[in-house]
């Protein structure tokens, strides 16, 4: 019993580190633009499809695939920003959300047109056996993801707190008007943040695809939902919060899957989010 609990906790943390990367990207976009980007996941999915395409056509290695995945995600993310968010910088966020939903369908269609089968294999991140530690198994992929999440968070902290771009980005997050008045180009910062977030998302998509060893069109919606859930659980708009929310989401999913089965797992995650938002503490909802 206790052994199961420990094993589930380890699995949960492993899943949580993948969610953490997704949530950090989501939080960056939300922080700067104050918009829900439904097309965040589909842009990542397109990146993974581009990598799969390169892999199938040229048999490229993992490092090249990671690069392709990140680059294609950034391109797709930039496309989304130009079409959905740049025209709606002022005014309501709803029009931008509807537009991002339309692009979601478009990106999904592009992926299906390029690679029409339902499922494609993706090269494995690691071929060997999982590590055995005092009777508990730890997947190497999970350690890589945890490492990647830590490195990305540290790098992001450096970018946000130690570079001019980071200062500008934080100024825009605090007050777009004041930032603009002090000579910061808000559109340029938004575009930069969008590219950064898409790159992080692309890395997350690559790691997830390589550890599941497959890509499907479902990856888009999956990434959007997991990133959104983790971001919200962490209290919206805070990067450490997003990481904490992602780990909590991973843990809750792993344990509820064990006790209630896989079908009720997702239901529980959504109900938890709804309850937190609806009757939870005020600090979670004041942004």
């Amino acid at each position: 019993m206790l052994a199961d609990l420990v094993q589930n906790t380890l699995d949960g943390l492993a899943a949580g580190s993948a969610y953490a990367l997704l949530a950090v990207g989501f939080t960056l976009i939300f922080g700067v633009l104050r918009r829900v980007n439904l097309c965040y996941g589909p842009a990542i999915m397109l990146g993974c499809y581009a990598a799969t395409f390169v892999h199938l056509s040229f048999g490229a290695g993992l490092l090249v695939l990671a690069l392709v995945c990140v680059l294609a995600s950034v391109l797709a993310g930039g496309y989304v920003e130009r079409l959905c968010f740049a025209p709606h910088r002022k005014g309501s966020g709803i029009a931008a959300m509807v537009a991002s939903f339309a692009l979601w369908m478009q990106l999904e269609e592009v992926a299906i047109l390029a690679l029409p089968k339902h499922l494609y294999p993706f090269p494995a991140l690691y071929d060997g056996k999982p590590i055995d530690l005092a009777g508990f198994t730890i997947r190497v992929e999970a350690l890589v993801m945890l490492g990647a999440a830590s490195v990305v968070c540290a790098a992001l902290w450096w970018v946000l707190y130690r570079t001019r771009f980071g200062i500008a980005a934080r100024a825009v997050i605090d007050s777009p008007l004041a930032a603009e008045l002090s000579g910061i180009s808000v559109p340029r910062v938004s575009m930069g943040v969008f590219a950064l977030a898409s790159a992080i998302g692309g890395l997350a998509g690559f790691l997830v695809s390589a550890s599941f060893e497959q890509v499907t069109p479902m990856l888009g919606m999956w990434s959007t939902f997991k990133g959104l859930l983790a971001m919200m659980l962490g209290g919206l708009g805070s990067l450490p919060g997003a990481v904490a929310g992602a780990l909590v989401l991973g843990l809750v999913e792993a344990h509820s899957q064990w006790f209630l089965g896989p079908q009720l797992r997702d239901l529980l995650a959504f109900l938890m989010l709804f309850m937190l938002l609806a009757i939870g503490p005020r600090w979670m909802t004041t942004r």
Binding site: R35, L38, A99, Q106, L228
Partner: protein
């Protein structure tokens, strides 16, 4: 001809779905829970006609009532939060409803077949229309009676004091509150009305589709619901109808010949529509222009 009747059925049901989001949007709230209420209506109405042997009309009434009750119960806690938080909270609720029906089994034996909802398999054999010998045309007319009733109701509401209150809250909450309007009551009543309309649409959908499953009620449908009034504009109920005709009639059916390329163009055209007319096809300005065209003279703002 049956093809066009079928298309008209689809457009009717989606108009109801869009109108349910329209009512909530009038108060300035964005709800992605409409697909959830739609699903509740579909399952309740279908279970009443198939399992309990009710006639469709009372079953639709019960579905609308269930939708309204759920929406009211959800609205009270959910409307504490505003803007994007509400979008996420209602999205979580909608997905919760979908996953509930994904796990929901309730089957009884009818002769030698088992009927009723069966989890991921969905709910098959909702055969009220075929069993009672309704033709496609009759089903279409039946659906459109409800669509016209709801449109007339909302059109009349817009001209009543209640409609003015809804729009006042949507325009400026602070000003509305200072004028003595109870914000919570107004928003909860709007989402309750929206829940009833969505559930009514869901009940009709279940019966003409004859087979429902949880996958049909996901975030895709929820976003469609909100997209109709946004694309069509919030100035009038006809905006939503125009948007459903544009999206389902032109973008989905009209472009069917384009095959795989349809979704590419679909996305591009919606984005174009949003960029050219961020306030929708029918905003206050061109609604006035249309009125002047038909009734002549400028009798002032609507």
């Amino acid at each position: 001809m049956d093809f066009y009747f079928g298309l008209a059925q689809l457009i009717g049901v989606h108009t109801l779905l869009g109108l349910s989001a329209y009512v909530v949007l009038l108060t300035g709230q964005v709800s992605l829970a409409q697909a959830g209420f739609f699903a509740i209506g579909a399952y309740v109405a279908a279970m009443l006609t198939v399992l309990a042997g009710w006639h469709l009309v009372p079953a639709l009434g019960a579905a609308a009532l269930t939708g309204a009750t759920t929406a009211c119960a959800v609205g009270f806690p959910a409307l504490r939060v505003k803007g994007l938080m509400l979008v996420i909270a209602t999205l979580a609720f909608g997905e919760g409803v979908r996953l509930f029906f994904f796990n929901f089994d309730y089957q009884i034996a009818r002769g030698d077949v088992k009927v009723g909802p069966l989890g991921g398999e969905g709910f098959r054999q909702i055969r009220f229309f075929p069993e009672n010998g309704w033709t496609t045309l009759e089903v279409m007319l039946f659906i459109w009676i409800f669509v016209l009733l709801v449109m007339a109701l909302l059109w009349w509401l817009d001209r009543s004091r209640y409609g003015a209150v809804l729009r006042a809250v949507g325009e400026d909450e602070l000003a509305a509150q200072s004028a003595g309007i109870n914000l919570t009551a107004v928003k909860v009543s709007a989402i309750t009305l929206g829940g009833a309309i969505a559930a009514l649409g869901g009940g009709l959908y279940a019966h003409y589709a004859t087979h429902i499953e949880h996958l049909s009620f996901g975030i895709l449908l929820a976003t469609f619901a909100i997209a109709y009034p946004i694309v069509g504009g919030l100035a009038s109920v006809f905006g939503t109808l125009a948007a459903v005709l544009f999206v389902q009639g032109f973008l989905v059916e009209g472009l069917r010949d384009l095959g795989d390329w349809r979704n590419l163009l679909f996305g591009a055209l919606i984005v174009l529509a949003m960029n050219l007319r961020p306030r929708g096809f029918l905003d206050a300005g061109n609604l006035r222009a249309i009125k002047r065209l038909f009734w002549g003279g400028g009798r002032g703002a609507p």
